[in-house]
Subunit: 143 residues, 2 copies
């Protein structure tokens, strides 16, 4: 959502902690994603990273994205299209998405009430809620 200056150090920290090498390309890819607020897909991340440093390959982008996803730095969003799209995941902020079905625009929102209801639903079914995904599809009113 918003750019966070300390995202870079968060990744660095993460790499150090998990014994993962903090390479040149990982830094750039992390930067690119951190500075994107438009939910790019893997190829888009590749294009942007590659523009900054042509040494970066698509395979590395895919590998890095997967790595970041596993370490909860990145969040994958599936919007029905074929490509998965990604966004930065911050530690204490969780949001969901509303997609404008006409323009494709993605709006982020937070709703605590829904979150707590989800937890309640899961518990009632005998589960502890670990994660969730919610997308609303809407049409702009007044147009």
């Amino acid at each position: 959502m918003k750019k966070s200056k300390n995202q870079i150090s968060r990744i660095e920290k993460l790499c150090a902690e998990s014994g993962v090498k903090f390479t040149h390309q990982r830094k750039i890819i992390a930067d690119v994603i951190s500075n994107s607020n438009d939910h790019p897909d893997a190829n888009e991340v590749y294009l942007r990273s590659n523009k900054i440093d042509p040494r970066i390959s698509l395979a590395t982008v895919y590998r890095t994205i997967k790595l970041f996803e596993e370490h909860n730095v990145l969040n994958r969003i599936e919007l029905g299209g074929k490509r998965a799209r990604y966004e930065e995941l911050n530690e204490n902020e969780h949001h969901d998405h509303l997609i404008d079905i006409d323009s494709g625009e993605i709006i982020e929102f937070v709703n605590e009430e829904i979150e707590s209801l989800q937890m309640k639903v899961a518990k009632k079914l005998g589960y502890k809620l670990v994660n969730h995904r919610m997308e609303l599809f809407g049409k702009k009113i007044s147009k």
Copy 2:
């Protein structure tokens, strides 16, 4: 969720209405999906249909699934895996899914309260809610 005997006629009706031919293979594919309560993917639908009638090809299954999806007979569910999975969509029943992250089991549930909150959220953002997708990922309690 539950098998509905009149699903077949619903599809037939739909075909008639939209000037879509009600072919042998479409009938079988509709039947298969209607009688599946385990959210099969395209290939699984193909295997089951093909077992009933070997004349059915994978391409037809894909084309038919897309057709049904466009006509709101089918609902696509994306579970992070690579293949899209499908379920029958009934006119007046809407449910969401809770996925057991250990076993992969899918549990369907309905929660009116969440639905109305979603509508409220969309409205507050200036949108009319047309559709939504919600998946909860949980771990079984007491095991």
